[in-house]
C-alpha cells in the first residue's frame, strides 16, 4: 500500500501533448487553456473533449459569450476529431449566454452546477470562460465575486469528479493577481507569433500541479486533424553516449561505410556508428553525391536511410535511372524522403518528422541536405538560435543510434578554412571537407577528412572525380604543397594526374 494518492493521467488524444504534459491531463484537475484570440484554444479543448468523451465518461461543453455556438459547431466539425455521433450522446453542449446577461457569475455558476449535478459529466469545458468574467470585472465587487466564482466552480467540479477545462482569452500581462491562475491546477498557454512573413504557434505549460511537464515553448500546428504538438527536445548530458568505462578500455564503435572504400580508409575504417558527419564544400563539389552514396551503401547493407531534403526539389532525386531505382527503394521502405515545408518549420517539428520516418523504417542512416537549406526552411524566429536547436536535434537523432550526414555549403576561400557558415562544425563528430583547386590549368576537386572525434584518421588531401559510377577517390596529393592556399607548388618533380594518381614530370 502507498501513502500517496494515485493521480490517473488521461490521454488527451492530441499528438505530442501528452509528452509535453508528462503523461496526460490529471484526472479531476481544474485547468485553464489561455491565450490570445485565434491561438487555438477552442480547438484544443474540443480535441481533448472529443477524444475523452464516451458514454461511460460523458462531457459537458458550456458555451458562454464568446464565439456564437452555431458558428463554433459549424467550424469545429471541419476537424476530423469532431464526431457528430457523440453530440447529445456522450457530449452535451449547453449555452449559458442568457445567464451571463441576466444574472452574471452567480447565475452561470448556478446553471453549471445544475447541469453537472443532472448529468454527472466527467469532462467539463467552459468556453469562453473569460467572456463571463469580463462582465463581472466591471462591477464594483467584481474581483471578489470572480474569486468566489472561480473557487466555487473549482470546488464543485472537482467534488463531482469532473476534469475541467476553462477556455479564456488572456494576455500574458494579466497573469498576476488573477485568482483563476491561483486556483487552476494546470495552465496551458497558447500563442502565435508573427515574424516577417511566417506565423509560428507555440504552447507552454505554465503550471501543472502534481506532476512534471516538459518546460519551455513547444511549437504546434493546426491542420484538418486538429492540433499536433511538437515537444521541445531536451538533451541531457547523459543522452550523448560517449564515456569510456573508468579504468577500462572503450569498446570500439561499430563503423558505418560511406560506400567509398578509400574514403572509409581515410575515416579510419568508416564513420563510427551514431556519429554526425559534416560534409562541407562549395557549390557543385559533390556533397549531395557523397551523401547519396552513403544512403545507397546503407541500402546494400540492409541499413535503411532517411533523406531530408531542404536543398533540391524532391522530384530531382527521382529523375533518371538512378531516380527510378530510388523510387523503388522508397516503395520498398528502404529509403524515406522528408520534404521540407518551407519557411515556417520549427526544429522540433522537423525532428518529429525525422524520428517518425526513422522509427517507421528502423533507419540507421540520415542525410540532411543541406544545413543552409534547412536553416532557410525554418521560420525566421528559429533561425536566431539555429546552432543550439541543431545541436539538440542532431544529439537526439544520434542518441537513437542513427548515423547522420549533413551537407554544408561553404564558399571556397583561400585565406581561411571554414567548414560551415554558422560555426556549426564544432557540433559534429566528424568533418569531411571538399574543395576546388586549380592544377595544371584545370579545376579539380579534392577531399580530406578534417576530424573524426575520438578516432584516428588520415590527414591527407586526395583528388576525386564524380563519374557515372559515383565518386572515385584518387591517390593522395603528396607531391604538392599549398593546395589549400589556391597556389599549390609541385614538390619532388612530380605532377598529379586528373584522377589524382601521380606521374613523374618529364622535366621542366
Amino acid at each position: 500500500m502507498t501513502d500517496k494518492v494515485p493521480i490517473r493521467q488521461l490521454p488527451t488524444g492530441v499528438p505530442g501533448l501528452d509528452a509535453v504534459l508528462g503523461g496526460g491531463v490529471p484526472e479531476f484537475s481544474f485547468n485553464l487553456i489561455a491565450g490570445a484570440p485565434g491561438s487555438g484554444k477552442t480547438t484544443l479543448a474540443q480535441q481533448i473533449m472529443f477524444n475523452l468523451a464516451k458514454p461511460a465518461r460523458p462531457a459537458l461543453y458550456c458555451t458562454v459569450l464568446g464565439e456564437p455556438a452555431v458558428k463554433m459547431l459549424r467550424y469545429q466539425q471541419q476537424f476530423t476529431f469532431f464526431d457528430a455521433a457523440k453530440v447529445n450522446d456522450s457530449i452535451r453542449f449547453i449555452n449559458v449566454a442568457q445567464e451571463v446577461l441576466e444574472g452574471g457569475l452567480s447565475q452561470i455558476l448556478k446553471r453549471i452546477v445544475q447541469e453537472v449535478e443532472a448529468a454527472s459529466p466527467s469532462i467539463v469545458v467552459v468556453d469562453s470562460f473569460r467572456s463571463a468574467v469580463r462582465k463581472a470585472e466591471r462591477e464594483p465587487a467584481g474581483p471578489l465575486e470572480m474569486q468566489h466564482f472561480v473557487q466555487q466552480l473549482g470546488i464543485h467540479l472537482t467534488g463531482w469528479e469532473a476534469t475541467t477545462f476553462l477556455v479564456g482569452e488572456y494576455l500574458t500581462a494579466e497573469t498576476s493577481d488573477n485568482p483563476i491562475f491561483t486556483v487552476a491546477d494546470g495552465l496551458l498557454w497558447l500563442s502565435q507569433t508573427v515574424d516577417r512573413n511566417s506565423v509560428v504557434r507555440k504552447m507552454q505549460v505554465v503550471k501543472s500541479r502534481g506532476h512534471a511537464s516538459i518546460p519551455g515553448l513547444h511549437t504546434f500546428r493546426i491542420t484538418g486533424d486538429g492540433i499536433q504538438v511538437f515537444p521541445r527536445v531536451i538533451v541531457g548530458p547523459e543522452e550523448k553516449p560517449e564515456p569510456a568505462p573508468s579504468g577500462g578500455k572503450r569498446r570500439p564503435r561499430e563503423r558505418v561505410s560511406t560506400g567509398i572504400k578509400l574514403l572509409d580508409e581515410m575515416l579510419g575504417g568508416g564513420i563510427p556508428a551514431g556519429y554526425s558527419v559534416l560534409v562541407a564544400g562549395p557549390s557543385g563539389s559533390g556533397k549531395t553525391v557523397l551523401a547519396t552514396e552513403f544512403l545507397n551503401e546503407g541500402v546494400r547493407r540492409d541499413e535503411p536511410g532517411v533523406l531530408a531534403i531542404f536543398e533540391k526539389r524532391p522530384r530531382e532525386y527521382q529523375l533518371g535511372a538512378e531516380g527510378k531505382t530510388r523510387g523503388r527503394l522508397i516503395a520498398d521502405e528502404k529509403i524515406a524522403i522528408i520534404q521540407a515545408r518551407p519557411l515556417d518549420l520549427s526544429i522540433d517539428e522537423t525532428l518529429y518528422e525525422l524520428t517518425k520516418a526513422i522509427r517507421r523504417l528502423d533507419a540507421r542512416r540520415l542525410v540532411i541536405d543541406s544545413l543552409l537549406g534547412f536553416e532557410l526552411a525554418l521560420a525566421p524566429t528559429f533561425r536566431e538560435d539555429f546552432r543550439e536547436s541543431l545541436y539538440r536535434m542532431v544529439t537526439a537523432i544520434t542518441a537513437m543510434g542513427v548515423t547522420v550526414m549533413m551537407t554544408a555549403e561553404v564558399e571556397d576561400s583561400y585565406v581561411d578554412l571554414r567548414f560551415s557558415p554558422h560555426g556549426t562544425a564544432f557540433l559534429t563528430d566528424a568533418i569531411i571537407m571538399q574543395r576546388y583547386i586549380e592544377l595544371q590549368g584545370e579545376m579539380k576537386r579534392i577531399m580530406a577528412v578534417v576530424k573524426v572525434r575520438g578516432s584516428a584518421h588520415r590527414k591527407e588531401l586526395r583528388a576525386f572525380e564524380i563519374t557515372t559510377d559515383g565518386i572515385v577517390v584518387g591517390e593522395k596529393l603528396s607531391d604538392h604543397v599549398g593546395l589549400l592556399t589556391g597556389q599549390p607548388e609541385v614538390t619532388k618533380g612530380k605532377t598529379p594526374r586528373a584522377d589524382g594518381r601521380s606521374r613523374r614530370r618529364r622535366g621542366r
Binding site: L73, V87, D89, F93
Partner: protein
C-alpha cells in the same frame, strides 16, 4: 413546391406534425400542434446554440418560408414578445387545414434546412432526433428493445 432540407429531415417534420396533430385536425388544432413541435425543437436547439441563436434562425427561416406562403407575413403584426413562431399559429389558424399543414411543415423544414446548412446534416439530425423521438419509429423500437 419542394420542401427544403434533407429527405430525412422532411420525413421527420411530417411525422412529428402528424403525431402531434393527428390525421383530421382542424386548422386551429394544427396550429397548436405546429407550435408544440417547434417548441420541442427550439428547446433542444437552445441547449446547443442558445436562445439568441434559436431566435435568429427562426426569424430567418420564417423570412424564407414567406416567399411561398406570403400570408405568414401577417404574423409580423403581432406582439413580438410572444416569440416569432408563436405568431405563425395566428396565421395558420385562419387557413384551410391542408394549406395550414403544408405551411407548418414548410416552416419547420426551412428551420431544419437552415440548420443543416450551418452545422451540417449529421448534427442537425441528432438535435431533431432528440427533440422528436416519436418521429423516428426505428429508433424508438430500438430503445424499447434495449
Amino acid at each position: 413546391m419542394p420542401m427544403p432540407g434533407s429527405a430525412d429531415l422532411r420525413q421527420a417534420v411530417q411525422r412529428a406534425l402528424t403525431q402531434e396533430a393527428g390525421t383530421d385536425a382542424d386548422a386551429k388544432g394544427l396550429a397548436a400542434a405546429a407550435l408544440r413541435v417547434y417548441e420541442t425543437l427550439a428547446g433542444q436547439l437552445a441547449l446547443l446554440i442558445g436562445e439568441g441563436g434559436v431566435r435568429a434562425l427562426t426569424a430567418r427561416s420564417l423570412h424564407l418560408v414567406q416567399r411561398d406562403f406570403p400570408w405568414l407575413a401577417d404574423a409580423q403584426e403581432r406582439d413580438p414578445s410572444e416569440g416569432p413562431f408563436a405568431q405563425v399559429g395566428f396565421c395558420l389558424e385562419r387557413q384551410e387545414p391542408a394549406v395550414a399543414t403544408e405551411a407548418a411543415a414548410a416552416a419547420l423544414a426551412t428551420l431544419g434546412g437552415l440548420l443543416e446548412t450551418l452545422i451540417g446534416e449529421a448534427l442537425t439530425m441528432r438535435v431533431v432526433r432528440a427533440a422528436w423521438p416519436g418521429a423516428f419509429p426505428d429508433q424508438t423500437q430500438q430503445e424499447a428493445r434495449n
